[in-house]
């Protein structure tokens, strides 16, 4: 269970297979993965490894959000 980081992906991203593939490729710590049907999902056991590099956010502005759970009130 991730304790520090949550990554939210807008369901609309699923309609863009190229973006899904790109997210999987760009994350340095394998937080994104494609399922058998080519749909993107986050990999629970890797979430806490997030380096906060923002590459995913830059690739999908407004459609991927990285939430720091420790920063919430």
């Amino acid at each position: 269970m991730a304790m520090f980081i949550r990554v939210d992906v807008d369901p609309a991203v699923q309609a863009d297979p190229a973006l899904c593939k790109r997210l999987v490729e760009l994350c340095p710590v394998d937080i994104f993965a494609l399922d058998g049907a080519g749909r993107i999902a986050t990999v629970e056991q890797n979430l806490d490894e997030c380096t906060l590099c923002d590459l995913c956010i830059a690739a999908a502005p407004g459609r991927v959000t990285v939430v720091k759970l420790y920063a919430e009130g």
Binding site: M3, F4, V29, Q45, D48, E49, T51, L52, K68, Y70, A71
Partner: protein, 406 residues
């Protein structure tokens, strides 16, 4: 990585160092045959990676093959400082007129190799240096330029040696220095070098230590010497805790987290960076603390790797708290380390605020790391608090735990 005497001598022989005739025996019968082959009196020496052989009874003399057989039988079953002998070196016994000492090692202050030579060998050179400083010479040389025999000659001549002996000893010391550089040694020592009754000069004992990291570079050489790859050459076999630490480190190529050495204390240590491990370990002891382990962390270990190391340290019986401390580092991410350590503590079933005595990692992403530590109520300090002060605070906090006997 220490080499046995017989391996050290094989290596020095290649560099032209004169040595007495010898043979390695793994059994009493082999020792008997070796003594017969050498003819005349022999000395039998236990092959262990520790000092104090003579005092422990690991060096014996024999004047016949039958005597050599019984001496070898005694040596081969005699552990020295907890080490079982790897064999016995059977060597021709010579009459010694004078003993000398020669070594090449690193002077970490001067950041250069140094030759140490004394015309009073066979005894503790450090004692000679105190009692008879004029009989110990130290000469530095560069590891960046080809070695010149001149340095060896200066070292030998400084102790008053002259004539034929100066030439012979210079050649031995120069060979020792070249071996030191060629094989990435951390210590190359001959104690004693003997001037025999016939005037010849030979190396009677030899001790070489190779840089652990250089094993890969010298794989072929180690194979020729018969050193198996799995032979760690540590003074004692690793404990289950240490093996588990190595497995943690090997589980992920990111950063270093898992090189641990087990001790008996109650304060678990997650420490490292730029020599920080040794400094922090000493600082804990200087403050009256009892480390449960030595440890090295560095680079950027993943959250999972830092968590696994934390769980391992906390799993050690007797560990009451952990101290997470590093030297000032530019590359280690404080937030990643904070996540890893807190995760490990929680996964081990503890409250990070109670279990982490102190967190001091002055690195990158500090503010992000401090936000995580605050969230979990962990005591942390920044680089304005020295390593020694952080260690003192950790020890004081452990001593002040409620219900704890002082």
């Amino acid at each position: 990585m220490r080499l046995y005497e017989h391996e050290s001598k094989q290596l020095l022989r290649r560099h032209g160092v004169p040595l007495p005739k010898s043979a390695l025996a793994r059994s009493a019968e082999e020792a008997e045959r070796a003594a017969a082959g050498l003819g005349g009196p022999v000395v039998l020496k236990s092959q262990v990676l520790t000092g104090g052989r003579m005092k422990a009874g690991g060096v014996r003399f024999a004047s016949s093959p039958a005597e050599a057989k019984s001496a070898a039988a005694a040596i081969l079953t005699l552990p020295i400082n907890g080490q079982q002998p790897a064999g016995v070196l059977v060597e021709e016994r010579r009459t010694i007129a004078q003993e000398y000492y020669a070594a090449v090692t690193w002077d970490t202050r001067a950041k250069q190799p140094v030759i140490v030579f004394s015309d009073m060998g066979g005894i503790d050179v450090e004692e000679v240096a105190v009692q008879h400083p004029g009989h110990v010479a130290r000469v530095h040389f560069s590891a960046l330029t080809p070695f010149s025999d001149f340095f060896a000659k200066v070292a030998v001549a400084s102790t008053g040696v002259s004539g034929n002996e100066l030439g012979a000893l210079t050649r031995i010391v120069a060979a020792l220095a070249r071996a030191f550089l060629q094989y990435d040694l951390t210590l190359a020592e001959i104690n004693p070098i003997g001037r025999l009754d016939d005037g010849s000069i030979v190396a009677l004992d030899a001790h070489l230590d190779m840089e652990e990291e250089a094993r890969g570079t010298h794989r072929a050489l180690l194979q020729e010497l018969g050193v198996p790859e799995e032979d760690t050459r540590q003074a004692r076999p690793p404990t289950a805790f240490e093996i588990a630490g190595a497995a943690v480190d090997a589980s992920d190529p990111r950063g270093v987290a898992g090189r641990v050495v087990e001790f008996d204390g109650n304060l678990g240590l997650i420490i490292g960076a730029g020599g920080g491990s040794l400094t922090l370990f000493d600082a804990i002891r200087a403050a009256g603390g009892k480390p449960a382990n030595y440890c090295e962390i560095g680079g950027n270990p993943s959250v999972g790797k830092a968590a696994a190391l934390t769980r391992l340290v906390l799993s050690k019986p007797g560990v009451e708290q952990i101290a997470v401390m590093m030297n000032v580092v530019s590359n280690t991410r404080v937030d990643i380390m904070a996540r890893g350590v807190i995760k490990g503590v929680i996964e081990a079933g503890h409250d990070p605020a109670a279990k982490i005595a102190i967190f001091r990692i002055p690195g990158s992403w500090e503010e992000e790391g401090f936000a995580i530590l605050r969230r979990y109520g962990v005591d942390y300090v920044d680089r304005s608090v020295s390593m020694h002060e952080a260690a003192r605070r950790a020890v004081a906090k452990l001593g002040a735990q409620p219900g704890r006997k002082r």
